[in-house]
């Protein structure tokens, strides 16, 4: 199945990969492709850095997807048959929205919002992104407003947190650990808990020591306040798990041809296979194409190096001749040799990477464009490579 069939047949596309490989751009480009072909598409970015908004001209979107305005499409001579929306996840806003959605009463809502543990969890602490991101995917999915949801995930290591989040939430809620936090404050009191079991008592004293008692009290109060929502959360976690494992969902790996990036990609694809969320396609961005000469002769028989420069310079002079000065000729030649070096390195590493992947996965190479892709026009330029059209 090639990438266009893959996108056509799936409702949720999750783009994974390390930072700086054009993941956001690729996700946005796929969403745009869907929109041009009549899908109601949305691109969701959960990267803490604000990239997608600037690519799609929807600055300042917070907890709701924002439609890309028609005049922006016209500016790039694009005529979408569907719609394109983009959403950038603001962590704090997303948490607040989540609480507002699930809190039964305004009092409870208020109590949670004022809790200091909640405040730090929602705005300051790292790692809680993944939880709200996955919740956001669920909201978009269930809203029924979109039939193509393309998510750009956080960089490699965090993407695993993201994918494992539903399981962890369920495990967290199931094992009754929450009760340990709840019970002492709610019914039995702190001292009582300490006497329940020497080791737990000891542990709590240590944690008290380490964190300050008020923090623990806040944590406990947070869980107490949240407890009425737990059933619902558990249900959500199950729903999300279902979405991620559904036949409607496909995982793509976005990567570059550099060694560092490919090492990360290998790690990621192995872990995703373990999670039983296998990759359906791999996209290599910013690949330098190799020049394959059609003619016979020395230059074609092996890749050109700096040694070949005099010969290439002579050739250039004969073709472009009179117009060119020596330093320019020299630069043209060296630059070409440089690009061939890059291309050869890319090809070798991609080949190695390919060998480690299951056979059937389609691999798509997108060349290194000669400018940044950061607007709708740029996103559309990627289509001919992504979808071979």
């Amino acid at each position: 199945m090639d990438l266009s069939a893959l996108v056509k047949r799936h409702r949720v596309i999750v783009c994974a990969g390390s930072g700086g490989v054009g993941k956001t751009t690729t996700a946005a480009s796929i969403a745009l492709w869907g929109a041009l072909r009549g899908r109601r598409a949305v691109a969701l970015t959960i990267d803490p850095a604000r990239r997608l908004a600037s690519s799609l001209g929807v600055e300042g979107s917070d907890d709701k997807p924002k439609k890309v305005p028609p005049q922006l499409f016209r500016r790039y001579h694009l005529a979408p048959q569907g719609t394109l929306a983009a959403m950038m996840l603001d962590q704090k806003a997303a948490w607040d929205a989540l609480i507002a959605r699930h809190a039964g009463s305004p009092e409870l809502h208020e109590r949670i919002l004022k809790n200091r543990f909640y405040q730090s969890l929602s705005s300051t602490f790292a790692g809680s992104h993944e939880y709200v991101a996955i919740e956001q995917l669920c909201v978009l999915y269930e809203s029924g407003e979109f039939d193509l949801i393309v998510i750009d995930t956080p960089p490699t290591r965090h993407v695993l947190d993201f994918l494992e989040a539903p399981r962890r939430i369920s495990a967290f809620l199931d094992r009754g650990v929450v009760k340990w936090f709840l019970t002492p404050y709610m019914s039995r009191g702190w001292t009582k808990l300490k006497s329940i079991n020497r080791s737990i008592g000891f542990l709590f004293r240590k944690l008290e020591d380490a964190t300050g008692i008020s923090a623990l009290a806040e944590v406990s109060d947070f869980f107490a306040a949240m407890s009425s929502m737990f059933d619902e959360f558990r249900e959500r976690a199950a729903t999300i798990e279902k979405i991620l494992r559904s036949k409607d969902t496909a995982f793509l790996l976005v990567t570059g041809p550099e060694e560092q990036v490919l090492t990360e990609a290998e790690f990621l694809s192995a872990r995703m296979a373990e999670l039983e969320m296998p990759l359906r396609a791999v996209i290599f961005n910013r690949v330098h194409p190799e020049f394959k000469a059609e003619r016979n002769g020395e230059l074609a028989s092996q890749p050109p190096g700096l040694d070949d420069c005099p010969e290439i310079e002579a050739l250039l002079r004969s073709v472009l001749g009179r117009q060119l000065k020596r330093p320019v000729l020299r630069w043209l030649c060296r630059n070409f040799v440089g690009y061939q070096l890059l291309a050869r390195g890319d090809a070798l590493r991609m080949e190695q990477f390919r060998a480690a992947l299951p056979r059937k996965i389609p691999l798509v190479s997108v060349p290194n464009f000669d400018t940044d892709l950061h607007d709708l026009g740029g996103l559309a330029r990627m289509h001919s490579y992504l979808f071979r059209e």
């Binding site: 969890l121 380490a210 964190t211 630069w331 070096l341």
Partner: protein
Amino acid sequence: MKTLADLLRKRVLFVVGKGGVGKSTVATALGLAAARRGRRVLLVQMEATERLAQLFSVRMGGEPGPRELSSNLSLLRIDGMSALTEYLGLVIRVRRVLRMVVESRLYRYFVAAAPGLKELMTVGKVWYEQERRDPTGGGFFWDLVIVDSPATGHSLQYLRMPRAAEEAFGPGLVRREAKKVADLLSDPARTVVCLVTTAEEMPVAETIEMYEQLCHLRLPLGILFVNRLHERVVASAEVQQWLVSLEEAKPAVRSLVEEILRCAREEALWAETNEACLERLAARVPLPVVKLPFLFTEEFGLEQVEVLRELIERQLGVRVIGTGKTAEYRWI
């Protein structure tokens, strides 16, 4: 702060920036520059990747603790969970009790429930390493700790954690420790944060945002490294004209010349993007800039890092400890 000596005089040097712009490379180059000058340097990575160690043909494996990469240069990978365990080991002296605590479900869930704790412990470990004393003498064990931070959004969370924890936690050990770490991070005599970016639209936008947030956090800032700059010898428009004029050329040579010109146009266009981005950076990020070229190479290895080190040394006003290999440096 305009010289390498100023930078290397600090206790801790954080290297931050968007993913994939070359943070590790710049951190390593700075580490090598310091190590060559006889400073004992600890490079810290917060993500478990083998790549940096591979540059020096060293295997990190799962072993905790610093590994020597080359003379005077060691690498330590800090993972939040083990840093927390190590830290608790300082609080809870009895091994058996420590194991019981660490292996208890309550502990594991406590850490999961307060995700920021891991980040705090990671930065705390950096603090601990820079405080370490040399057992044989009175001085510090490390002359300089260089931290290769995770990608932008996450590294900000690390840098923000100590102060946030100090404010969020009640009086207690963590709060006191957090304050020590936060004080270190905001002390310009001991800490410096350097930014790395490429001169492209998205990384530049992120760098500007990052710079503003770092200012807001009142962290001492050093140098802005602009990496992978392309060179413009001819304007892209001119190359385009040559491409058009090719239509009259003989078919036998045309494909090759066309390819040469296409590569030239690509290079010139990148160079033009770089120039515009450098201007934007100059207007929005008022820090001294070190410019590093894009290197044409089949595989990026230690040799390439050394070239960048020499270029950093040259621009930051110190004598270059050289291999003398600079004439052809862009094609290696």
